[in-house]
Structure formats: structure tokens, C-alpha cells
Point group: C2
Chain length 415, copies 2
């Protein structure tokens, strides 16, 4: 049984029922789901209540905002592996670094978490179709869940979205439209279309308040996987940042439940070519300003926040409340990290996801993260999603006649 | 503790220790792992013995050929979802059809199963490097596991391998060589290189006898997921066919254990443009002949068996022993089925995997599979792996200015 009670504005604290609502009708603030007094399993055991009749993250449905089990639209998402780092960072190793491997979700990214919750809640509220503005992964997730729910879906994507993600949306049967300009144009147009056409807007910024509830289940899973230990740091690639805030919310709930007595420090990672939250953090401002010119290969976090910079401000607030920090990395460093994760860890990730590796390395070198600090990096999306930045590398693969002599010629070149 | 005892030739029945061996040194036949008397959990409960300290398919290590747990090289593979069909096949529905979703494996295909077992056994035998000839998925799996094992790897691929798979191998750090001609050229050259350079050959035909042991774990998982019910039919896309034979072996073991009293009928699915096993089946021959000219988009099963047609004969024998059948489907039907799986099921699969859907539909129409027959189709690989056949479809996606009016213009075109 879900313990969700309603939506509450994080700004004016006005409360609303669990309906299709986006920003606060009173003050325009971000809405957040609130719950009845949370409870764990009876007895001394520090365990969340789980519904074993469902697979994936919905086992935690007690703590999620869908009231009727029949409205759950699932592709069996979540419950992703936590993998210990094997990476040799030249000057040090990182035995206390773990990767939460979100590439193993049904559509290949963490966005399946917010999407399964947001679409299930939309179904519970009787909607007839869904729309999403997406730089890629939220769009493919929306397309997948709309397909299995037999709901029409419209996906608005920025002009430069990787074609791998477009293909995935196409196969799931969504109606796709490319919108000129950066992600913010898609975001603002989706808002207008959703209102005028009465579609549920699943856009996974903070705009739809239910998505973040899916993100928070990562905290629950980490609690189980780390046997109750709380990471000192959690590194998250951030565009708008609900994933970071969602994970932190999950930990705050675990603390309220009395299961843990401290909270992780949240570290937001952005690409230097689009880093509005890092900029505000570095300049010690409390308010995030929109980013002007987006220039990065990390398509999953290239969000300039134009028209909704309050969302970035909210993420910055979470980071500061957690005593964390924000850091940016270059495209060159990101590409190098894609290969490090592939070659040393057997993880095939998209550029956006690799940003956390180089951020970890930098923070270790700055002595902010120390050798013994339990740290989790969120690996957000699979490598197939965005191959263009490395595609030229394939030109170096040799083509030979099928003879051993020709092989030996190539082998000699390897040295 | 593993119950594996040795290798036995399926032809002359000569036995060998669990070393790096490929075809039988006595007669050239296929080698198969054999076990001590299998046992299940104590008591009346029909349950396999599981090692809860390991995740994924290695929980079944009692029934796998790796003796020392420390040699296991895993990326947490297997334990994939079983999903009930929601597909509306025009003239009928298919409530008793299930999909075993192998796209959820770490490198995106079922090949992670044979590869984790074969590489772990190679490590146990002290090898220094691995080589694979692959039409793609086995190569990406080898590359991933070699990376995490810190072993050098060489992957030989046919000229026409999809670039998505090449990119994945590249990121995992393998040495890749394209070999002119079809898959058989790569296969035969890999054999020669492995012997001359003392690399373990992980090629996942029947050549490496340990791979099939990974495939058989699908039967164990289905036994658990279907609560002991045995499917009447299991549909498998087949190139050489060890996946089909492996699953059947798993079921034969479950029968020996007394857990089940019947076996599934195995259905092999090939593409019309490369269907040597189907041809032999249709012509009522017991021996498979190599295929001459490969012409299909289903790259994962485009194996002409030149130089190792005995492997196809062995698969045909399994099919006949199981009272199953072999069937071929056209490229056009396959592409249509990719979209059916995407739009109706939310499953994004590569063309090879979609072949089982159209095969199911045909067999239903022929009244071979009936409405109430419990049937499992193996979904072998994720859609990202091979996007070229559908890439032109993306040209139809509109690009608009970010205004509601422009959206309405597009919406009108949708009708």
C-alpha cells in the first residue's frame, strides 16, 4: 500500500492532491510528493517494506506515489548491479569506488526509473497520451513505456540529438519531432503542447513531480547493496539534476526511518561546455543562471536551463545542503574516461556517464575525496546511445585477406 | 562445488579432462562437458542448488564446469526477465507466448552467457589471451569479459559486421581485425591463430565446449520463472545453434534430476538468406551442408557453416530429438517484426532477435503451435547492435521552429 499523501510546494509549502500538476499553482514553485509517516519492516531489522509480487523498483511501492497496483506500467526496471571499481588511475587505485550500473535498465538508462513512476501516475490519473521534451534518454524511456502501456506518445528532441536515440524512439513507435535550437526550446514547447492538448508531460526535469520518486529508489537499492553503509560521496552527472536530488531524498527518508544516521554528500558533475550549476557553485551564488551557448559532446547533460533556471537552483540547494560540491569536466577528459571504463572495467557507457570518472579522479587529486571514502558513481546510460564522438576511431580497424600471414603482418604493427 | 567431471566426444564418446580442448583429438567430433550424478536441494523441494554468494547465472555454479570460484570472471550476467506477450497478431493474440529478454545482459546479448563460462574456464586453465571469431555479439561479449579479466583479446569479424558492434569492441579495448568474406573465413582463421599463438579460442559455435554450459542456464532460469512448467515450444534464432542445444541440455538435466517429466520442443529459426539447417530439415536430410551465398540483414545468424557444417548437423539432431522443427523467415518479415516488438511490447531488439516473432506467427497459422501451447521465444540481442537496416526511416522525422503553430502543422499531417 502506498503511503503517499499529496504534493507540496518546496517554496510556499501549499499542498495539493496527487493529480496531474506541475509547478505550484500558487507560486510557481517545484512540487514534491510527501508521505504519511514512513515505516519499515516490523521488528528490529532495518529493512524497507517490499512487495515481493512485483519485480524491479516497484517492490518499493509502499514508498512510491501510485495508489493502485493495477496502474503500474513496468518493463522491470531498477535493481541494477553495484560494481566495485577495478580502475587503475595512474597515481592511485580506487577500491572504495563503486559504480551503480544504470545501463542495465530496459531502455538502457536511469531514465526508466522516473518514467515508470511518472507514466504509472499519469495512467492512474486517466490521461490519454504522453509528451516529453528530451535530450535523448528520457525520450527513449517515454517511448518504451508508452508502447507497453498502449498510449500515444510525442517526443520533442533538440536538433542535435544522437541518431541512436532517435532510432530507439522510432522503433518504440513514438511520434518524434526535432525542435530547432537547444534543449530548452524543446522543454518550453512541450509545456505548451501538453497544456493545450491535454497530454501528460513526463519531462524529467523537476517539472513532473512524480519522476523524482523513481530516482530516489537508487538510494533504497544502495542501502541494501551496501548492507546499510552510507557512501560518503555520490557522484551524479547533472543536466537539471532531479536524479541527484532524488537520490538524496531517498537517503533522507532512510534517515527518517531511523535506518541510517548520516547522509551522503552529493556531487554534481557537468560538462565544461554547459555548466550553469557548477558556475553558480564556483561563484558562491545561491541562484543558478541559464547557460548561453551549449558546446559539449555530453548530450545527456547539455541542458542550459533557459526558462526554468529555478530547477538548477533547487539542485544547487540540494548539493549545498548535503555538504557536497559541483565540478565540471572537459569533453576531452570525458572521451578518455569512456575508454578507461571500457578497457579496465568492461563497462560500455555514453560520454555523459563517463564524466563521473574524471570528476572522481580530480576530486581525489584535490584531496576532497580520500582513499578510504566510500564513493558511488552513477553510470547513467549505455554506450550505444551516443557513438558519434568516437566513431572516427573505427577507421583504424584493419581489413585483411583470411590468411595467417596477413594476420602476422597486422600483429607486427601492434608491436 | 562444481560437479563437472570431464569432456566427452558426442561422436566417439572418448573422455578427456576439463582442459583447453576443442574438437575431439580422436575423431574430430564435438566435445561436451559431462557431470557427476546431478543433485538438487535436499528434501522434497524441486529446486536446484544455488550459491547465493554470487549474482547472476553463477548462482548455478554447481552445474557449471569452473572448479574454483576465484576463476569466475563475471559482469553479472543472466537472470534476465521473462515477459508475457502483449502482441496482437492481427488474427489472434498470444497470451501463452513469453519472451526471455536476453538484451538485459551486460554487453546487450545472450552471448554473455557462453562467454562468461568459456573465459572463466580459460582463466582456470591459465591462458594468457583470448580470441574469438564473431559476427558481432560474441565478439563484443569476449571484448567485455577480457577487459574485466585484464586479458588481451583479438576479435576477428566478417567484413560486414555492424559498426555499432565494432564500436563496442573498440571501447572495451580489443584488438579488432576485419576479415574479408563471410563469417566462416573469420572462424577458420581464428582457429589457426589460436593454435599457433596459444590463445584460448572462445568462438561460440560448438568449437569451445564450455560456452554451451552458459547457454544451458536459460533452462534453469525458465524452470524457476515458470514455476516448474515446461514450455511446449522454445523458439531460438540459430546461426550454428549452440544456444538451442544448450537450452535443451539444461532441460535434459532437469529431467535427469527428476524435476520435470517432459522436454520442450526446440524450434530453430533462420533467415531465408542463410538457412543451411532449415534447408536440411525441409529436405528431410540428417546432414547439414554449408550455405553458399549469404544474403540477409540478420547479421547475428548469418553463418554459412563453411568448414564446420558438422556443427549445423549437431543442431539439427537436437531439433529432431526434441520433436521440434526448423523454419526460415524473410528479411522483410524480420524488419516488420522489429517494429511489432517495439511498438506493442516496448522491446528494442536487433533484427536477428525479431525472427522468432514472425516464426511464431507462421507456426500458429500452420496450426503447429496452438493457442494454449506455452511457448518461449529467446530475444537474443538489443536493438542498438544493428541499426542500419532501419536507418533510412529516420529521414522522415520533421524538424520545426519551436512554436505551437509549427507543431499543429505537423500534427495535422499525422491525421
Amino acid at each position: 500500500m502506498s503511503l503517499a499523501l499529496g504534493l507540496r510546494c518546496v517554496n510556499c509549502e501549499k499542498e495539493y492532491p496527487l493529480k496531474i500538476l506541475y509547478n505550484c499553482p500558487n507560486c510557481g514553485g517545484i512540487l514534491d510528493v510527501f508521505y504519511d509517516k514512513l515505516r519499515g519492516k516490523a521488528g528490529n531489522e532495518k529493512r524497507l517494506i517490499v512487495d515481493e509480487s512485483i519485480q524491479g523498483l516497484w517492490t518499493y511501492r509502499e514508498y512510491l506515489p501510485v495508489l493502485n497496483k493495477e496502474n503500474i506500467c513496468s518493463l522491470i526496471e531498477g535493481k541494477t548491479p553495484l560494481i566495485r571499481s577495478k580502475i587503475d588511475f595512474d597515481s592511485f587505485i580506487a577500491e572504495e569506488l563503486f559504480f551503480k550500473d544504470e545501463t542495465r535498465n530496459p531502455s538502457g538508462s536511469f531514465k526508466d526509473r522516473p518514467t515508470t513512476v511518472a507514466i504509472s501516475k499519469a495512467i492512474e490519473n486517466g490521461i490519454q497520451g504522453v509528451i516529453t521534451a528530451s535530450s535523448g534518454n528520457a525520450g527513449t524511456a517515454t517511448a518504451a513505456y508508452a508502447a507497453v502501456a498502449s498510449l500515444p506518445s510525442i517526443i520533442l528532441v533538440p536538433e542535435k540529438v544522437p541518431k541512436e536515440k532517435l532510432m530507439q524512439m522510432f522503433v518504440y513507435g513514438s511520434k518524434i519531432i526535432k525542435v530547432k535550437g537547444d534543449y530548452s526550446n524543446s522543454f518550453n514547447l512541450a509545456k505548451e503542447i501538453a497544456v493545450k492538448c491535454d497530454y501528460a508531460n513526463l519531462t524529467s526535469t523537476y517539472y513532473n513531480p512524480y519522476g523524482l520518486e523513481g530516482d530516489k529508489t537508487i538510494a533504497y537499492e544502495l542501502f541494501d547493496q551496501l548492507k546499510g553503509l552510507v557512501p560518503k560521496y555520490i557522484l551524479v552527472p547533472i543536466g537539471t539534476g532531479p536524479l541527484l536530488t532524488g537520490i538524496y531524498k531517498g537517503y533522507k527518508e532512510l534517515k527518517k526511518l531511523g535506518f541510517i544516521n548520516k547522509l551522503p554528500r552529493m556531487i554534481g558533475v557537468q560538462a565544461m561546455g554547459c555548466a550553469p550549476i557548477v558556475k553558480a557553485y564556483n561563484e558562491k551564488r545561491n541562484k543558478v543562471e541559464p547557460w548561453d551557448l551549449v558546446d559539449t559532446i555530453a548530450s545527456g547533460i547539455s541542458d542550459p536551463l533557459k526558462g526554468y533556471s529555478q530547477d538548477g537552483t533547487y539542485t544547487l540547494k540540494t548539493i549545498k545542503n548535503s555538504n557536497g560540491c559541483a565540478i565540471s569536466v572537459s569533453d576531452e577528459e570525458i572521451l578518455k574516461s569512456v575508454l578507461v571504463l571500457g578497457k579496465q572495467q568492461g563497462l560500455y557507457v555514453e560520454p555523459t556517464s563517463a564524466s563521473v570518472i574524471i570528476a572522481y579522479e580530480k576530486l581525489r587529486k584535490m584531496n576532497i575525496i580520500r582513499e578510504r571514502d566510500l564513493t558511488v558513481s552513477i553510470i547513467t546510460g549505455i554506450g550505444f546511445k551516443d557513438t558519434k564522438p568516437l566513431m572516427d576511431s573505427l577507421n583504424s580497424i584493419p581489413l585483411i585477406e583470411p590468411t595467417f600471414d596477413k594476420f602476422k603482418e597486422i600483429e607486427m604493427l601492434w608491436g
